[in-house]
Symmetry: C2
Subunit: 289 residues, 2 copies
């Protein structure tokens, strides 16, 4: 039914079923396990509105070391809850992107913890790339792989992995129209950091990282933007037909297909569903007895 | 996390991922494939508020024969849509249980179609029992199996299969408190048909079948009732933690565990998630940008 709606053959990589409910566990583990023992024992720190924070806390648990997570006020409660459940030490900060670094720096100074950036980190990028490693084994005949784009860590890892493993598969990023800094950056040929994100896709509000922009540019990544209205339609279709409770960011990839039906006609498209951490209070069940 | 919430080890049988989005395809196929060719060619007919109708239409498609589905007004739109997509011929009728039989009888008379009752049918019951056949292979060490109870077809099949395959596994039915005719029937030792169902679990409003009551009684089935409020909490937990979009009826089984924490302490419990056909309009996503 989804193939019919999309006019293409779709293959989903279900990272909402990953530990922590999002793909972020991959990159967090790779970064965590690469740390030498003497650094690791002082712990790790990051700033995250949710999924990376929970993933880092889970990964830190695998080495028995502390994880400090700086969370901006206004983050999705379900994701903050995940961080706490995973044993993360939560530090709240003002919801202003550019000052999120300050509490991070303070924690680093006080504890000697190592910063694990959510996306502009080579180990994190490599970890996220394992998605493509698995996807091309599970669905060897793909023409296109579409992932959401926030800070660009996931797409950086996937684009690098595709270039090596399947150079003919086109990497496409799905980005909310209300947070289209990657789209603008690639169009202008330089990193645009001035976009003030306004989107229901809470996982995609980050600004494209400097290193991530270079990877995207040099690996021929195309970005397609989708409106929140289009994403809402995609969420409902994925919930209703796949019966999978994915979060809004995940649905952007399917929204891309619906919006550009002709463009993917008859192609085999791999779609990365990035996470399933939806706020419970964001769901109203209007069920009647 | 769900094990912790339930105080037990839980194993889910995910029938919302079955063809048609519900377990009903099992019984419908078994009934359909048991028909001799000369009967089959005249088609099949049933009355169903949803999942059985879609399942019968899908099953009829496997033999290329017509399926007439009598649907009461007020049924969940997503389920009626499923029936049509599966190629079923929909006949609307008034939403009064006891007159649903009339259009069925009329279709039978006019077309010679065979009635495939949603639950009081030996082939349908046997088909639903294949759930237990698979479940005990997938999770061999269960102490209890809990299924929702509506008309009793699913539980009849499961209880019969358990008695043969795993006589020490206890069969427990989860029934909405607002449609507790099976609970009352077993308590009184005779079939109670006077309950006027009032529950959000649209798949569990049917009255226990006469043959189903006998099977439940003779196979030591216990019924536990859950309120709609308890079911709502269970829906949210299943959506949030399993990331699976199950329908309200499915959630009754997990609601049972939450409500009776002490009773299942440390046990291995198989839970049948019966379907995932939720009305799209019943979901409000209060997402903020």
């Amino acid at each position: 039914m989804l193939d019919e709606a999309a006019g293409a053959s779709v293959y989903f990589k279900c990272e909402h079923l990953q530990r922590g409910g999002a793909f972020k566990f991959r990159g967090a583990c790779n970064a965590m396990w690469a740390l030498p023992d003497d650094e690791a024992k002082r712990g790790v720190v990051t700033h995250s509105s949710g999924n990376h924070g929970a993933a880092l806390a889970l990964a830190a648990g695998t080495r028995g070391i502390p994880a400090h997570i700086v969370v901006p006020d206004g983050a999705v409660e379900a994701k903050i809850e995940n961080i706490k459940r995973a044993g993360g030490i939560v530090h709240r900060c003002a919801p202003i992107r550019r000052i999120a670094k300050r509490p991070c720096v303070r924690v680093q100074r006080e504890t000697g913890a190592t910063l694990v950036h959510p996306y502009a980190d080579a180990h994190v990028i490599a970890g996220q790339g394992t998605i493509v490693l698995e996807l091309v084994q599970q669905a060897p005949e793909l023409d296109v792989v579409i992932t959401p784009i926030g800070g660009g860590g996931l797409m950086s890892g996937c684009a690098i992995a595709l270039k090596v493993l399947k150079p003919n598969v086109r990497p496409i990023g799905a980005e909310p129209a209300g947070a289209d800094d990657a789209f603008q950056s690639l169009r202008q040929g330089e990193r645009v950091t001035s976009v003030v994100p306004q989107t229901i896709c809470d996982g995609l509000r980050a600004t494209i990282g400097a290193s991530n922009f270079v990877v995207l540019r040099d690996h021929g990544v195309t970005v397609i933007t989708v409106t929140d209205a289009e994403t809402r339609i995609a969420i409902r279709q994925l919930w209703a037909e796949l019966k999978q409770t994915v979060e809004p960011s995940s649905a952007t990839v399917f929204a891309t297909l619906l919006q550009r039906r002709g463009q993917f006609e008859g192609l085999r498209v791999g779609l990365v569903l990035t996470g399933g951490n939806v706020d419970l209070d964001a769901i109203d069940l209007n069920l009647s007895a």
